[in-house]
Symmetry: C2
Subunit: 404 residues, 2 copies
C-alpha cells in the first residue's frame, strides 16, 4: 500500500512519546523511574474489588454485561452525584453528568465539542500533558499563564486574554488543575480561584476544572472547588476513580452545564458508543458501599509518607540553586533546576546513572521550561525515592563538570 | 453562557438518534422491539465471567487494575492472535493488533487515521450505522454499492470508484461487513470477495473487514475471511467479543498492516489513553481458558432458533410483495416492503400497534431505502417475535387502507 497517500493529516501531539520512550528504558532494567504517573498498587482495594466484581455479575449480570447508554449507567451517575456532593462539589439542578473512559476522554470530548481549529484555551504553564494532547488533536492554540508555588498567576490572566482577543483570536475556555496540579504539584489559594472565575465571567468563558487529586490531599486546606464557587453555571468539573480506587477501571466523569454535557454525549456516540458497562457497575457499587470513602485515609497515609520522603531527600541531597514545589497531594513534585541546566541533556546523563524523569518542556505547549522537570513520587518505593534523588543530584554535578 | 458562541462546528451524525428515540418508546411500555441490536443476555456466560473477574483481581490485581499501554495489554493481544487463528483469520507476520473500546472505536480511529475531510470510502447500501457515524464525524463522503440477497453487488464497484476518481475525488478504502451483514443479514459468496479484493488491489485501496458475527454463524458456509484471502496486506480486520462473550466489557480489536495500526494507536492516545485494563484481562483469560470457544455452540443454538422463528413468522403472516433476507448468522433480517410503503409512515402506525423497527433509510448514507426496514431478532423472546411480526403485518394493512 502507498501509506503516504493513505494517511490523513490528523493533528497529533507527539509529546507523549517522550514519556513512552522513557518508560521503555525503565522496563528494560534497574533504572529508578520518576517519569511515570502511576498510582502505588498498594492503594488498590483488591479484595473489595474482587468481591464487588463477582457480586455485580451474579446480581446485575444481564445489565452489567449488556450495552448501555452513551451518557453512562444511571446507577453510576446517581452514585457520582452523591459521592461528589459528599466531597463538597456542588452539583447544580441544571447540570448534566457524563461517564467517560478516564477523564482523558472527557477532555477529548470537550475539545471536539467547543473548539474549532485555531481557537484558544487558557491554561497554566506548565500544563497537563493529556489535556495538551486532547486539545492539540483539535488544533487548539494555547494562552499560557506562568505559575509560582501557588499555581496559576491569575493576575496575568486578563491581559493575556485581552491581547489575543484584540488580535481577533477566539478564546473558548480556561483549563486548570487548581488542586495538586499535574505536573506542578501546586494548589491555588482561594483568592486566585475567585480572580479566575471573575475573569471567566467578564469574558464569558467556560471554565474546565480538572480534579483527579483533591479527594486525597493529605494536608488540611481551606480551598473550595471552582465548581462550588461558580455563580453562573460555567464550570465543567472533571474527575476520575484512577487515584482513589483503580486506574485500570478507566472510569471518569464530567459534571457541567447540560448543553455542554449533551454535546459531549453526541460526540461520544461516534467515538465509542459508550463506556464499558461492567466497570461502571463496579464503581457504582464501590461508591454506594462507601468502599472509596473508607479507603481514602489509607491512600493519604501512603502518599504522605512518600511525599515526606522525597521532600526530605531533596532537602538533603539536591544541588544548590534548585527549587521545587511542596505538594499537599497528587503524585508530582515540580523542579526548577539552575539556569545552566538543560533538562534533556541532564536526562541523558541521568539514564546512565540509573534514574529518569520527564523533562519539563514537554508540559509547555508554547515552548519554554528547558531547565525544569516533573518528578513522580507515587510509584517508586521509599528506598528508590531516596536513591533516585541521590542519582539525580550526582547527574547534575556531572552535567556541570562537562560545562566548565 | 453564550452556548451558540461556545460550541464548535464538529460534524455530527444525528441518524443514531432515530434508534435512540425508538428505544425510549420501548422502555416506556409493552411495545415489542425489533429496533435494538442487543444480544440475548442468556448468551452471557455469567458464572464463568464472575469467576474469571474474581480470579483476575486476586491473581493479577496489581497489573489488571493499573494503567496499561495504549495499544492494549500484551496478554490479550496474544490471546486475540491465537483466537483469530483458531477461527481461520490469517494474521500476517507484519500485522499489528490494537485493542479498542468496542470495534466502534476501531472505526473511529481508522476514520481519523486515513480520512481528510471530503475523502471517500466505498460501502454497501444499506451500511452499518456505527460506521456511518464514525466516518461522518470526519466528514467522509460515501460511495454506496447496492446489495442483493448475496450482499454487495461487487460488479458495480469498479465503475463507481472510477466515476469518483475521474471527478478528482480521493478514495481511501472499501468498508464491508461481508458475513452476516448489519443491517442486511447477507453473506457475500467467495466470488464477490475475490472481486472486491481485486478492485482494491487495482486502485490501491485499504479494505476494512468488519466482522462481529462470523464466529456464530449457524449454517455451514464455504466463505473465507477477506483478511485470509488478502495477498498484499491491505485488509484491516475488526472484531469484538460483544456477540460471543458480553458487549458490556466493550472489548474490540483491529488487526492490520502495522503502519495503519500504529497510526490508530497514536490517535487513541489523545482519545482515551487506553482501553480499560480490567476487562482486557477478563477477555484474555476467557479466551485462554477456551470459555468463548466452548460457549459458541450454545450461542448458535439460541440464535438459530430465533432466526427460524422469525423467518417462519414472516412466511406465515407477512403481507404480499414484501421481501426479506435469510441470514445465516448475526442479529438482523433486512426487509423490503412493497413500493407503496413508506417505512417512516409505517412506523407511526406500528408504534400504536405495539411494535417498532428501524426505518431502513437510516442506513443509506446518501439517501434512499424509504421502503426498507431493519428487523432485530436476537433480543425479543420467541413469543414476541411471532406476535411482533403479526402486528407488523397488521400495520402494513392499515397503512394500505389509508392510501386507497
Amino acid at each position: 500500500m502507498d501509506y503516504k497517500k493513505l494517511f490523513s493529516e490528523y493533528a497529533l501531539s507527539m509529546r507523549v512519546s517522550d514519556i513512552r520512550e522513557l518508560l521503555k528504558v525503565v522496563e528494560s532494567g534497574r533504572v529508578i523511574s520518576f517519569a511515570g504517573g502511576l498510582p502505588d498498587p498498594r492503594t488498590f482495594p483488591k479484595e473489595e474489588i474482587a468481591s464487588i466484581a463477582k457480586y455485580v455479575v451474579e446480581n446485575y449480570g444481564d445489565k452489567a454485561l449488556q450495552y448501555s447508554p452513551t451518557r453512562g449507567v444511571k446507577l453510576l451517575i446517581n452514585a457520582i452525584k452523591d459521592f461528589s456532593q459528599r466531597q463538597g462539589v456542588r452539583v447544580r439542578e441544571d447540570d448534566g453528568i457524563i461517564v467517560t473512559v478516564g477523564s482523558q476522554q472527557g477532555l477529548y470530548l470537550l475539545a471536539l465539542s467547543i473548539i474549532n481549529p485555531g481557537d484558544y484555551i487558557v491554561t497554566e504553564e506548565p500544563s497537563y500533558l493529556g489535556m495538551i494532547q486532547a486539545f492539540s488533536a483539535r488544533k487548539t492554540r494555547f494562552i499560557t499563564i506562568p505559575i509560582d508555588e501557588n499555581g496559576m498567576k491569575t493576575h496575568l490572566l486578563e491581559s493575556a486574554i485581552k491581547k489575543v482577543l484584540s488580535e481577533g483570536g477566539r478564546v473558548k475556555a480556561i483549563y486548570t488543575v487548581p488542586t495538586c496540579h499535574n505536573p506542578a504539584g501546586t494548589t491555588m489559594p482561594i483568592e486566585r480561584r475567585k480572580e479566575l472565575l471573575e475573569v471567566a465571567e467578564r469574558y464569558d468563558l467556560l471554565v474546565i476544572e480538572d480534579d483527579p487529586y483533591s479527594v486525597i490531599t493529605f494536608e488540611k486546606t481551606s480551598v473550595e472547588y471552582l465548581k462550588t464557587m461558580d455563580k453562573s453555571g460555567r464550570v465543567v468539573y472533571l474527575s476520575t476513580v484512577s487515584k482513589i480506587l483503580a486506574p485500570g477501571l478507566r472510569i471518569g466523569w464530567s459534571i457541567g452545564p447540560e448543553p455542554v454535557i449533551s454535546k459531549m454525549e453526541l460526540v461520544k456516540q461516534a467515538v465509542d458508543l459508550h463506556t464499558p458497562t461492567f466497570p461502571q457497575y463496579i464503581v457504582a457499587e464501590a461508591m454506594n458501599r462507601r468502599v472509596i470513602d473508607n479507603h481514602i485515609p489509607f491512600i493519604k497515609a501512603i502518599y504522605k509518607e512518600k511525599r515526606d520522603t522525597i521532600l526530605n531527600a531533596f532537602e538533603e541531597y539536591m544541588v544548590e540553586g534548585t527549587k521545587w514545589t511542596k505538594p499537599i497531594g497528587g503524585l508530582f513534585v515540580w523542579t526548577w533546576f539552575p539556569d545552566w541546566v538543560n533538562s534533556r541533556k541532564l536526562l541523558e546523563i541521568a539514564v546512565k546513572n540509573g534514574v529518569v524523569f520527564v523533562p519539563g518542556d514537554s508540559f509547555y505547549p508554547n515552548g519554554g521550561g528547558y531547565n525544569t522537570a516533573r518528578i513522580n513520587y507515587s510509584f517508586p518505593t521509599k528506598e528508590e525515592l531516596i536513591e533516585g534523588v541521590k542519582r539525580l543530584a550526582t547527574s547534575i554535578r556531572e552535567l556541570k563538570s562537562t560545562l566548565s
